[in-house]
Amino acid sequence: MREPSIAIVDYGVGNLASVRKAFVAVGARAELVRDPAALRDATAIVLPGVGNFGYCSREFHRYGFSPALRRARERDVPILGICVGMQLLFEGSEEDHGEPGLGFLAGKVVKMENVPRLPQIGWNALGPAGAHPWLRGVRDGDHFYFVHSYVPEPASPREVLGTVEYGGTRCAIAGGENLLGVQFHPEKSGANGLRLLSAFVGATMRQTVPS
């Protein structure tokens, strides 16, 4: 059988190399996957994304990843969304009303209002993190690196697993079983980010290695 590997969804968008390099740094095997069919073998999936939601969503669908991600979700394959990759887990975004998200999490992505600067660029402290196996290493007040103008508003408060203060309380982490989205960039958040990615690797690889 194949060695367990983390599949980083490569739809030509964003800082894929940084995400792969960060997984390598925590000792994981991680591959960029451009062929949706190859997601069938993935032990865990990372959905990155930066920039414009509409552009990301169009490219994501154009590469044919939407059905593959849905099948993976049905099979309970662990999925981690980062930045716009997190936003794609929701139903849609104000940034481009015509582009649907995956709808794994209920709610929409909205533009941040009443903020000091837009985009928010920089390190901000998380409030207390919710209970989730991939967030075990995260502590109240840990700083992560954010770059974004839009933010998800989950419909269900219990799916909010971390918040950040920026012109109001914003959702920074959302998810459920085998699913997590982070608005910040763990691959660029120094030791705190590497710790989170390492917890994801530890939890997801342990589930599947014995098979």
Binding site: P116, R117, P119, I121, N124, A125, V147, K188, S189
Partner: protein
């Protein structure tokens, strides 16, 4: 809490080596860029900026390879600038792991460069780097090549245009203060920070932790950048952050090491 103020060491790079600049003339090697970069990451730098001060056609490949090597080793955000004159080159640098590219002279010559980079890779990746010099009482002129080439353009108008074209951040360098150790140019920084909504990084003139405290108390800057004072150990990132924290300015505290 809110987003913290960022302290950004800047590494002027030539062929993978860090060089110091004093008013952009006279350079002196201070060591391997990657080694210095990882040292800054451990010291609590929030971000790094690498400026290739001698970028030319032949060196472009070197810039991409350099950015890739940095991304292998560094897990905080970094910006690459110097000689970026096409969206394709910007894309190559971003693809290997840089978070942002800074454009300066090439954007002055053709502002569509900003539109192209922001359009393809997002505003968050497009930094306008601008060198500004005081012109009498009338404001600040945009200058190129470290002040050697005047443009006749007004800095505030140019920054506004660049942001309208999609620049997601402004790296503002005061040519009057660069290398002088007289402190940041607070008037210039305030003028730019109040003209646009995107974050502003102030650069030029810092020589003490008090200069950073002044910057954040007296202007709307989001980040302060310095080069030689950090390279030569006259000031440490931790020392600056301690002074800022003591003055009630939010900074990212030292992190728990990743084992």
């Amino acid at each position: 809490m809110t987003v913290t103020k960022r302290i950004i060491p800047c590494l002027d790079v030539r062929e993978g080596k860090v060089v110091k600049s004093v008013r952009f003339v006279d350079t002196k090697d201070v060591g391997d860029a990657i080694e210095l970069a990882t040292r800054y990451e451990r010291a609590g730098a929030d971000e790094l900026v690498f400026l290739d001060i001698n970028a030319s056609h032949e060196k472009r490949r070197t810039m991409v390879e350099f950015a890739s090597t940095v991304a292998d080793r560094l897990f905080i955000p970094f910006t690459v600038g110097g000689g970026i004159n096409s969206a394709d080159l910007a894309g190559e640098i971003l693809r290997v792991g840089a978070d942002k590219v800074a454009v300066n002279s090439a954007a002055v010559r053709d502002p569509r460069l900003i539109t192209d980079i922001a359009g393809r890779y997002g505003s968050q990746a497009a930094v306008l780097s601008v060198d500004a010099r005081r012109t009498g009482d009338h404001g600040w002129e945009v200058v190129l090549d470290g002040g050697r080439v005047p443009t006749g353009m007004d800095t505030i108008a140019w920054v506004r245009e660049a942001v309208a074209r999609g620049a997601g951040e402004v790296l503002l360098n005061s040519i009057d203060r660069d290398g002088t150790k007289e402190g940041f140019d607070l008037a210039l920084t305030n003028a730019v920070a109040s003209a646009v909504d995107v974050p502003v990084i102030a650069s030029g003139g810092a020589s003490s932790a008090a200069d950073f405290v002044d910057l954040f108390h007296k202007t709307g800057a989001d980040a302060g950048l310095a080069a030689s004072i950090f390279h030569y150990g006259e000031l440490t990132v931790g020392g600056v952050k301690d002074a800022l924290a003591a003055a009630g300015i939010p900074v990212r505290p030292p992190e728990r090491a990743f084992a």
